[in-house]
């Protein structure tokens, strides 16, 4: 069962919920090679202003490939074979992202849509200071800013994510994993973007640090009003965090609904399996699912789709 557009009554009460900021229509991404791998199949999504959209699925299901396609970060052999990605700007203009020329695309990146990547360890250049890496965003996108203004802005965003601004003189290896990820989020905030794509931003961190960062993301979203695409394999986390959730399986979105509906009435068997595969402290959820689930015995452990995973689509 593929539900691309949930009925309006289930729409979350997010600010500006009616106004989309990013629309993906029938997007297909393939990896060319001896055997062409169809990593993203006919995906349609709508991200509304200020909304947190969760993208869940196992490793290799194509969720990162989808996210990278939106910002056109793919290089050969990955290729968007069909579909459209439209960005609805604050000022009312629509941008056809797949049709942007190189220079337009470069200007679009980060200023309207920024990203936070998975590898907190490796997403920062190891040989230059955090300050240099924050500032080169500003020197490139805001050439009119003075040195003092740049400094002040960098300190401001670091302060926003709870990193002491003095740490901007550090090199990445001098920071802890959690702090590095906070720096990445600060960097993503620099240009006040309308959309932030977070690709497993907390996967490498322990649960306490993870919690702190998630709380930070929610707070910043409320303060600054950007929309978030949050990619993870951790469905329970998404249930707590997101307004709406899309569940991906082998390149397709198999279920797309509000977090509430998806939790209470999962329709696709894979969603049910994902929900069941996480232990519950009280056992309540498992009981709930068994009561409403199909007659089939509950599958324990990870979903049995590993064999069918398309090779080479780990991103």
């Amino acid at each position: 069962m593929t539900t691309h557009n949930p009925p309006p009554r289930t729409a979350p009460p997010a600010p500006d919920a009616a106004r989309p900021v990013l629309t993906v229509r029938d997007l297909n991404v393939v990896y060319r090679g001896d055997r062409t791998v169809h990593a993203v199949k006919d995906v349609s999504l709508t991200l509304h202003r200020g909304e947190i959209l969760g993208l869940a699925g196992e490793s290799g299901c194509g969720k990162s490939t989808l996210a990278y396609a939106v910002n056109r970060l793919h290089e050969w052999p990955a290729e968007v074979s069909s579909g459209t990605v439209t960005f609805h700007d604050r000022d009312g203009h629509d941008l056809d992202l797949l049709a942007l020329r190189d220079e337009e695309l470069r200007r679009f990146r980060w200023s309207k849509l920024s990203m936070v990547f998975q590898g907190a360890m490796n997403a920062l250049n190891p040989v230059t200071t955090v300050r240099a890496q924050l500032e080169d965003v500003l020197t490139t996108h805001r050439p009119g800013m003075s040195k003092q203004q740049r400094r002040a802005r960098c300190a401001e965003v670091l302060d926003l994510v709870g990193v002491e601004p003095g740490r901007m003189h550090s090199y990445p290896h001098e920071l802890s994993g959690g702090m590095r990820q906070r720096v990445m989020i600060a960097m993503a905030l620099l240009l006040d973007p309308q959309v932030m794509i977070m690709d497993e931003p907390t996967t490498a961190l322990d649960v306490l640090v993870q919690r702190g960062i998630l709380r930070e993301i929610l707070r910043l979203r409320d303060e600054l009003g950007f929309a978030v695409v949050f990619i993870t394999h951790d469905l329970p986390l998404l249930l707590e965090l997101s307004d709406r959730i899309a569940v991906m399986l082998r390149g397709e979105i198999v279920e797309y609904d509000t977090a509430e509906t998806l939790y209470r009435h999962p329709r696709h068997p894979y969603t049910r399996q994902l929900l069941e595969s996480f232990p519950s402290l009280t056992g309540e959820r498992g009981a709930f699912l068994r009561a409403t689930g199909p007659a089939s015995p509950p599958a324990a452990g990870p979903a049995p789709h590993d064999q069918a995973r398309p090779a080479g689509s780990t991103r």
Binding site: R106, F117, D136, T140, H141, M187
Partner: protein, 329 residues
């Protein structure tokens, strides 16, 4: 502080070991300088008697009445006083003077050529690696073939082509001998003119190694997450290539460059032989041919100090270009 003390201590021990080897190795070589001088004297019709031999032995310090240990101690003592002895092959010049005259030529020629080759190789390598799969890839086999061709053959071909046939560059020597050595225009321009061809051969034969190494590092660096981040940040392609990719890809090459700087002094033997260049490589060959222990030892010592000094410099400076190595110091 302990880090620097340990490093300095290590290099002092290495220096002592090198100096000691420097003493023993020439003495293990067959032949004797006195025999060679006697033979030369005989060829010119001089009288060769035991008294002549004795006086030569005393003159050259080839007198073996001292024990090896005593010789070693006086060798160390002389080194401390900057006294490398008298050169047999350039008799009666002092070894320190012979080295002092030839070393600047080598450093200028081979040093500059190595620097040019390094910069050129890194720049091309960064470009080729960044635009992997484009026509630029075809540079690699070309430069690799040039690096694989025996150097003397390449040098002779270039000399025959550019100098003998086309007459673009002078064939031999380091400068036009009709000018006085000094900082005057005639001499300097003549020295530059004489240096271009040998430098060209060095660059052509060595640029391939730098290029290939840099290109491969560039390709693996381009797959790093921070490059993806930099692209997503909307930075200009040039900036991503230089500040993010090349900056990281160059790190191993920089270490290699410092080592190759140490070998500038010794690496010039072939070049200077082909082009009759007045540098230290030619002197070394001359010293070996004439069993000139003193000159050999002096040159080896210069080479050793150059290699050790270059390595010490890299050790201390590497922390500047790669902050990760500073941790724990």
């Amino acid at each position: 502080m302990r880090y620097y003390a340990r490093k300095t201590g290590f290099y002092l021990v290495a220096l002592w070991a090198a100096v000691t080897l420097n003493f023993f190795i020439p003495r293990m070589m067959p032949g004797n300088p006195v025999d060679i001088l006697m033979a030369k004297l005989q060829q010119r019709g001089g009288t060769v008697g035991p008294s002549v031999r004795r006086s030569y032995e005393l003159l050259l310090g080839a007198d073996h009445s001292d024990s090896l240990a005593q010789q070693y101690l006086s060798y160390l003592n002389n080194l401390l006083h900057g006294d490398f002895g008298i050169s047999v092959s350039a008799y009666p010049a002092k070894v320190s003077d012979v080295i002092g005259q030839s070393l600047p030529w080598t450093i200028a020629l081979v040093g500059l050529a190595t620097l040019i080759s390094f910069v050129l190789g890194l720049t091309l390598g960064a470009l080729v690696g960044w635009k992997r799969g484009s026509w630029l890839d075809s540079i690699i086999p070309g430069t690799t073939v040039l690096a694989a061709v025996p150097y003397f053959w390449l040098a002779l071909i270039l000399a025959a082509l550019l100098s003998s046939t086309l007459n673009w560059f002078p064939l031999l020597g380091g400068y036009d001998v009709t000018y006085d050595i000094g900082w005057n225009w005639d001499f300097v321009s003549s020295a530059v003119q004489h240096g271009i061809l040998p430098a060209l051969t060095i660059v052509i034969s060595s640029v391939g190694g730098w290029l290939l190494g840099m290109r491969n590092m560039m390709v693996s660096t381009a797959a790093e997450d921070y490059i993806l981040t930099a692209r997503a940040k909307g930075l200009r392609n040039r900036r991503v290539m230089i500040r993010y990719a090349a900056r990281n890809a160059a790190l191993p090459s920089v270490a290699g460059f410092a080592t190759s700087l140490g070998f500038v002094v010794s690496g010039s033997v072939m070049t200077e032989q082909v082009f009759s260049y007045p540098g230290i490589g030619g002197r070394l060959l001359q010293a070996v041919e004439n069993n000139d222990y003193a000159l050999m030892q002096g040159i080896f010592l210069v080479i050793t100090v150059a290699v050790l000094g270059a390595n010490l410099l890299v050790d201390l400076l590497y922390g500047l270009i790669d902050p990760r190595t500073r941790a724990g110091n």
